[in-house]
Symmetry: C2
Subunit: 293 residues, 2 copies
């Protein structure tokens, strides 16, 4: 059994990106520039954005944080987005979610130029991804692809069972892993809460992506020998430690891991990869803009 180490993989991919940024700058180009838009005073959002800024610094990107009070009106925010769309110095930008309740998140996402939508949330990017065209891929699915790729895991002709059909994980992973590409060319089964006898599907899976948000749902007796297991779950569960909780995945690691060829730990598996997707997308946005000149 081999651990799919997200921390190590993320560090390796960061190194690759940093080297490319160095080349870019040595060739007289400015480095990629990511802008993060933060509305209001949500502690978790602040942490996420700070981590993104830190990652930018590590790979040599310029990053800018734009903060607005949660009293900003929807129209004012849309105006700010319009400015960012037209700012030639900005390659990509993200609107940290959630937004205050008086702002329509869908409207805001749709206002971001698809060419700068490095979160891959805009319908144009979702559609291009579903069509197998070049697109900015969403963070978690892209992180999973990068992890499979980093470890050289064979996917062609494999049966991949995905637990969960969310727009941010299950569905895009299904669309990506069924593409004629590597990683891809899988037979993909998407299970959901209505699925009868989920174990009958997971027991036939070569690759399992667990993205249900149900702590330790997948047990050892639901997995066949040699399976590759990707655990996307991160749920806080009560624990007898100073914090009073621990982070649990959707996989019961102790019973599942011994049967696996590869498995992601939680934490330290998929988690660290999501920020790498953002870095890859921002670099790509910069390259696309350079190619357009």
């Amino acid at each position: 059994m081999i651990l799919l180490n997200g921390k190590e993989t993320a560090a390796a991919v960061k190194k690759e990106i940093a080297a490319k940024v160095n080349e870019m700058v040595a060739a007289g180009e400015r480095p990629p520039h990511l802008v993060a838009v933060l509305v209001g005073d949500n502690g978790a959002s602040k942490t996420y954005v700070a981590n993104k800024e830190k990652a930018c610094a590590e790979v040599g990107f310029k990053s800018t944080l734009k903060t607005f009070p949660d009293t900003i009106s929807e129209q004012e925010l849309l105006d700010e987005i319009d400015k960012l769309n037209r700012d030639d110095d900005v390659d990509g930008f993200i609107i940290q979610l959630p937004l205050p309740k008086h702002i329509d998140e869908n409207k805001v996402i749709n206002a971001v130029s698809p060419m700068k939508d490095v979160d891959g949330f805009h319908p144009v990017n979702v559609g291009r991804m579903a069509l197998g065209e070049d697109a900015f891929l969403p963070a978690t699915p892209y992180g999973i692809l990068l992890l499979l790729e980093h470890y050289g895991i064979e996917t062609s002709g494999k049966h991949c069972v995905i637990l969960g059909r969310s727009n941010i994980v299950g569905r895009p992973v299904a669309n990506l892993l069924s593409r004629k590409a590597y990683p891809g060319d899988c037979t993909v089964t998407m299970c959901n809460s209505r699925t009868k006898d989920i174990a009958s599907f997971t027991r036939n899976a070569d690759i399992i992506v667990a993205a249900l948000g149900v702590p330790e749902f997948l047990k050892g007796d639901m997995v066949k020998d040699g399976a590759v297991v990707i655990d996307v779950g991160i749920t806080r569960v009560p624990a007898d430690n100073p914090k009073g909780y621990r982070i649990a995945g959707d996989v019961e690691f102790d019973s599942v891991a011994p049967k696996c060829s590869y498995i992601t730990p939680v934490p330290g598996g998929v988690g660290p990869m999501t920020i790498i997707s953002l870095m890859k997308n921002t670099f790509k946005a910069r390259e696309l803009k350079m190619a357009k000149k």
Copy 2:
């Protein structure tokens, strides 16, 4: 075994649409208006477009055919599309494919306003569909949904196996039938040419959608008792008749049908439903425009 009669279903849905158009006109509104753009002199394309015009007449839509010689430049065609996008009298329009080789089809599809894209080809519509948002659905997948709905076939919690992952059938059907909706809420498996032992999947399927383009691929011994079988295949195969060919589906009807609860014939199953999707989308485009006023 019940035949899913596409001709009858199409006629019934046309009647419903015609009644709504009558109401619309009685309320002093103009009827929906569909424009078909035909480039060049392709016989099959002419037939398709003529059928679409005929269907428009039957449901009370206004329809206009715009023909251009195959010498039209890409830019000239894009200019025509721009005119149609801005023409307030046009609710929806389609560009009949294929286009001459000197014209980039993708560029043309992307130029159509997503609000008038009644073929559901624009990435915004594909993306909105994948996100489970309101969208213009592509013809064949939408036709399949309408057929399942017309016969009141239960889909929730059913295992649907889709043979084929094309952008026009397999993939959108997978995205639609896995949605939290009716028809939908299925566990969906998407098989492709790399799938090992396809029969092991189809034998476990409650619903099979065959969209491989391989004549009579699905045989009786690959189907479980009571399955619902939707045959999207239409291939000409040599036959001992005056035409010299017959139309074959992807399903070996004689061996599969006796095991089914429901099955589509070929021809007369999914085929007649595709044009209904276009009528439904055009009606919806008109309604959306009216709501915007």
